[in-house]
């Protein structure tokens, strides 16, 4: 008899996941002639948190940035294979990269608020999209800041510089900024690694709340964090050519308590990496 796996939230969520929001098919990314990741097939389920873990340099960031074509910005970077967003290949000719980046937002390792007021930070994206009406912008800003659990802290100082906030608040501002674009997926590359433990917990809380409305893909070095906040986990490693490949993918609780691959086990138990 196999009891139901576990009663924690993430597993429950994993057990009921059905809709595929994104998917990579045979995805390889090259920097010039160096293949950073090879033939990755990875599903991203809707309204779930997917954690990507793996040793340094295995291509986690590369994979993540392939999901909203941020790699386009790197000279010499080249993509093979497909990345489907709602079934459509975002690398297909004729795809609008601006629109893709609107739909797949991104939050970075170090909080990077723009050097402008809190309000302008959040309104940056909507303004790009041509929204000029003050009332509409006001609404978007408030809604996004609320969603990022920051509204109470900043409602009285919307005009203040975004860089005057604390580290954790800055990161939430960046999340609010991403949310303001109404993305469908939010990519996060080690979003808490520059934060102190307390701020980290706040962001983790926030991520749990965000998945109600968004699909989240997060790269993290912190195994416990991945185990805490994600529903699914993908473990990447490097082959002899230092190309990253997908070793294991599965519901987080499975991967962390009973991984199928020896390599995964060694990595998550800290025996290699």
């Amino acid at each position: 008899m196999q009891p139901q796996l576990n009663i924690t939230e993430p597993t429950r969520a994993a057990a009921t996941a059905t809709d595929l929001k994104m998917e990579t098919r045979g995805l390889s990314v090259y920097y010039k002639n160096f293949r950073a990741i090879k033939e990755i097939n990875l599903p991203v389920y809707e309204n779930r948190v997917l954690a990507i873990i793996g040793p340094s340099g295995c291509g986690k960031s590369t994979l993540l940035r392939a999901l909203n074509r941020m790699n386009d910005l790197v000279p010499g970077a080249r993509v093979e294979g497909e990345v489907l967003l709602d079934g459509e290949n975002i690398y297909a000719p004729g795809q609008d990269v601006v629109d893709i980046r609107r739909r797949v937002g991104m939050v970075f390792q170090r909080p990077n608020p723009f050097p402008m007021s809190v309000y302008d930070n959040v309104a940056f994206g909507p303004r790009l999209l041509g929204i000029r009406k003050k009332s509409v912008l006001d609404e978007i800003v408030e809604r996004s800041l609320r969603a990022a659990a920051l509204w109470e802290h900043v409602q009285d100082k919307l005009g203040q510089s975004g860089m005057a906030l604390s580290g954790g608040q800055q990161q939430r501002l960046c999340i609010a900024r991403a949310i303001a674009m109404e993305p469908e997926v939010i990519l996060m590359d080690e979003p808490t690694s520059a934060l102190d433990p307390m701020a980290t917990l706040t962001i983790e809380d926030l991520i749990q709340r965000l998945k109600e409305n968004f699909t989240i893909v997060i790269v993290t070095h912190n195994m416990q964090q991945a185990a805490r906040i994600s529903d699914f986990t993908a473990f990447l490693s490097m082959d002899e050519d230092r190309a990253g490949y997908l070793v294991e993918f599965g519901p987080t609780v499975e991967v962390f308590t009973n991984p199928k691959e020896k390599l995964t086990e060694d990595y998550i138990t800290g025996r290699f990496g």
């Binding site: 008899m1 009891p3 576990n6 009663i7 917990l201 706040t202 809380d205 416990q224």
Partner: protein, 217 residues
């Protein structure tokens, strides 16, 4: 105050424990009820249901371990989680006692009872009530109450001794009753053990609340 994830997990786990306790208490009362009415069908059902209790306990255990390993709880949180692990184990054992009584019911075949059961149901009621109280104390993190509960174990012990003497008397008077009397003795013993286990739960509650390790027995 952050840590809402941990808080939520703890709340969930606590309510899972309460639910398990609820179920175990019911199993115990039902098994005695079934014995009282020699209802073998009901007994089978109880034995069947014990699997669910075991599963629930496993679930709690795994979830708790994952919370410990990932949420890095310390101090009160850690003590609470340790207690949850332990209490879930105790509850499962209590479930086993209920199952044991159901099994006795089945083993006793279709023979009628030597006499109507009165003290045994009374005992089970007290033990179950102690369990309920201990879980309330657990839920409220209430060391004071937890210290009181085990005192009621005396009532249970008194009833047990009474039953014991009565059944031995039966056996001596009529060797044909030895079989059944022995079975009933088992059943009483099981109920008595259950009350003992409640004491363990109370110890855990005190440990959680205060960090003190006391022996209440």
């Amino acid at each position: 105050m952050p840590r809402t994830v941990l808080e939520t997990e703890l709340k969930n786990l606590k309510s899972e424990v309460l639910e398990l306790g609820q179920r175990v208490g019911e199993a115990m009362l039902n098994s005695i009820e079934a014995l009282k009415h020699r209802d073998v069908e009901a007994a089978r059902k109880i034995m069947e249901d014990d699997k669910k209790i075991n599963e629930a306990r496993f679930e709690i255990e795994r979830a708790t371990l994952i919370v410990i390993a990932t949420q890095q709880p310390l101090a009160h949180d850690l003590r609470l989680l340790a207690s949850i692990l332990d209490i879930a184990g105790e509850l499962e054992r209590m479930g086993d006692y209920a199952k044991g009584i159901a099994k006795i019911n089945i083993l006793m075949g279709d023979k009628p009872l030597l006499k109507p059961l009165i003290d045994l149901p009374r005992m089970a009621e007290i033990a179950t009530d102690m369990l309920r109280q201990s879980l309330v104390a657990f839920n409220n993190d209430d060391a004071e109450t937890a210290r009181q509960i085990p005192q009621r174990d005396e009532e249970v012990d008194a009833l047990y001794n009474q039953i014991y003497r009565e059944l031995i008397t039966f056996m001596i008077q009529d060797p044909k009753t030895i079989d059944q009397a022995n079975y009933l003795l088992w059943a009483a013993h099981n109920v008595e053990r259950m009350a003992d286990r409640v004491t363990n739960i109370c110890e855990r509650v005190i440990f959680t609340a205060t960090g003190e390790i006391v022996e209440l027995a």
